[in-house]
Subunit: 529 residues, 2 copies
Amino acid sequence: MNYQVFDTTLRDGGQREGISYTVADKLAVARLLDEFGVGFIEGGWPGAMPKDTEFFERAKTELDLKNAVLVAFGATRKAGVDVASDAQVKALIDAGTPVVCVVAKSDIRHVERALRTTGDENLNMVRDTVRHLVASGKRAFVDCEHFFDGFRHDPSYTASVVKAAFEAGAERVVMCDTNGGMLPSMITEAIASVTQKTGISADKLGIHCQNDTACAVANTIAAVEAGVEHFQCTANGYGERPGNADLFAVVSNLQLKLGLKVLPDGCLEKATRISSALAEIANIAPDTHQAYVGAAAFAHKAGLHASAIKVDPLLYNHVDPSVVGNDMRILVTEMAGRASIELKSRELGLDLAGHPDTLTTVTRKVKDLEATGWSFEAADASFELLVRSELPGADLIRPFNLESYRVLVEHREDGTVISEATVKVRVRGERVIATAEGNGPVNALDEALRSALQNHYPQLKTFELTDFKVRILEGSHGTNAVTRVLLETGERGRDWTTVGVHENIVEASWTALVDSLTYGLALTSTKAL
Amino acid sequence: MNYQVFDTTLRDGGQREGISYTVADKLAVARLLDEFGVGFIEGGWPGAMPKDTEFFERAKTELDLKNAVLVAFGATRKAGVDVASDAQVKALIDAGTPVVCVVAKSDIRHVERALRTTGDENLNMVRDTVRHLVASGKRAFVDCEHFFDGFRHDPSYTASVVKAAFEAGAERVVMCDTNGGMLPSMITEAIASVTQKTGISADKLGIHCQNDTACAVANTIAAVEAGVEHFQCTANGYGERPGNADLFAVVSNLQLKLGLKVLPDGCLEKATRISSALAEIANIAPDTHQAYVGAAAFAHKAGLHASAIKVDPLLYNHVDPSVVGNDMRILVTEMAGRASIELKSRELGLDLAGHPDTLTTVTRKVKDLEATGWSFEAADASFELLVRSELPGADLIRPFNLESYRVLVEHREDGTVISEATVKVRVRGERVIATAEGNGPVNALDEALRSALQNHYPQLKTFELTDFKVRILEGSHGTNAVTRVLLETGERGRDWTTVGVHENIVEASWTALVDSLTYGLALTSTKAL
């Protein structure tokens, strides 16, 4: 079996609402996909998208791919135009990729109504374009758009497009569920029928599924089970509407559930890291509930489970999280009983088994705080500070205490916007007042607090705020909304997350900021936690 | 065929990271699920969860269900305990529901390692509990936990649990893919094998799937195709880890793709509204990319498609969006050419066909703004203001102009936090200065601006800020982050969304606020847009 893992994150994935890749982004995405071990990277549509033309140009000198080959995507020649003089086809050849994938209409209704040409001319467009690409030394793949809808409506015409493509020298013909309306059983049935009707064996065909029935991953698996060896996915399932088949779920399922080898050795373990790096570049908040690679993919919160997990983790995980580079997590939540809190604390190196009273107090405090909008599920550092401050002979020394702060944001008549903050704190007995500006109220507060503390804690310089998340929580139905802020701080590879909740976003941010510096200083001074 | 649509949003769904239902929430969720037409609503675990005990108590007087019956969830009796004196089983009966669903271990490894008892005692626990429930006048359903893992490991033992449950009088035995590791083909195979092994027909069995392979919906469909008539889902797929099978996708697929009638007439059209209402109560941002019911489920952004959609919308939608109460949307994005902008404007009642120059300017402005972090995809009102301000003889009169504003947030020594804003604006030639306090900086600005404008625009009183979303956009890798604010304003049933982007969150909010009031005033004064 020679599986072709074909990634189209940079082409079809870019159609997801909210994604807009720069050329630099596209190069970075390509490197990560190559590192993950996909065989083909569809980079975009040269000629149609200026950004994509530039991407393929820069790729010639800036991309050094180990596992993948680049693919340029485009359309068959225009109706009534000589292929040699079709500018868009020329752009595909000029892109300089070893493989070109052209989309062809394979539903007669789309040929006639959208393309506004005849079925025969469409077949000529497919033949001419594929022949021309092959003659130019390209490996030619053909995406049959609306394949399944077309095959249901007029099997003979759709089959004739498939045959035309192969006759002209196409290496693969891809069945695209463009509108995403299929279910796995329908895919299985259609493939059996099309191979029987065309005499073409399934291993020459490819599959491309959209997620409109929430079955894109399952549909892709069904096609592979039916003998298809070429499948098109996008990282994290990015794509138009409900998206495409998620590369990470498809590959993990094929390797771990069906025992098929589709990636080079040592690649699957990179799934979790690469998935979040790609979310970062796409500038889309990672889906914590994503299968296999999500932060919550192996997270357990029910007290019921948590207690049993202490016995045998694998009883409660469908695979060992580490095979996809993920971890099992215990979530601190009101649904979790003492067992989860104890387990979580142990995860953080704090053994509460010997301190039943502390365990009780912490469990109660967590329940109370979560009732008012707090969440420690993503804020381990704040949780650890909470536990430590409750431990007998509390081992936590607060490095400073707040007296007051004041933040001013001004939009002046000349249009300039300034933010200025003043903090008054007590550090080791000394009272310090500091003022600073920032590009926003929170940044100004951060700057002011750091300048107030820097003489006593020079190591603060090495702390960097790496992420700042804001969530407005509907006040429980009618009452005022509260704001929850998550702050991620990094220092030489390590990072920690803290949380703050308040109806005032500035105060919520301040709380998270104070926890962040307190935790960081405890880390680097009193002891390595 | 007599399908049982069994919803467990209130029990299993509540285990999703971030969900914490109050009893009032639970009652509201139950009413919405009943309105959607599910047959069974699993309300929680009385006895184990105080909230759930209270829910069932209040349900007796406060819930008047039209389509659904309530189900209490619990466990079989404890090992070595007489069922009649098992407090947890008693709580199940006291819950007063017509149906009780008990979870039973059906994987011998879980029986021995987690439950720490023998296979035989576990079988007795199932028999005793089911008999006791039936004797108490309950319809008894049995969830076989880890069914598929158990059946693979030791088919005979798992089969013996199923038989024991039916012999004791269970109405349904549910095969639970508790760890979520299955694929559709495995489900099909397992069901064939278990029915053959036990002689029990598939229509007596139920299915409960978790989404750990991203196949929960497909797995559920596969089970129904194999003859199962009872399926357990959660609204929006809420649940632990990657979640459960999404009720809306499962039901839509069964009705629209397989032509099975699983809901009462007129219910499916409520899917989109009820899905977002349930997200609201769960306090989870709706998944815009959710199949069928997501805001982007039928949203088209590619210029390519947008132009063809003008010809025939159904060519590009797998179903008519209205059958699930959704709409087709055209997204305004840089990938969309003039076609999308023109289509979107027409959607808003602005015909740009006659104004090619305006169309060009607007398209360019949208591209430029989106390059700096703006997004009009969710902000129709801001987009409309942008178009109107470009129309020849711009028909948009700005109701006021800002001179300057100042916002102060202070955390005082006594711990109180105050927010105060002063705005200076020009309204119809008059210069107005107003100051107000608020529970946060944006609220204070809103109050100050309204008080400055109220004499000239009394109708402002009727505008209500209904939602406020904040998204921190990683500055393009290294540079400062920018903040995007989406503001939703409502007035008597109508609502509109505006957007603001700036590195300073207060300024970004201000921009969205000004658009919001400008749009609202234009709506109510100059003309009905």
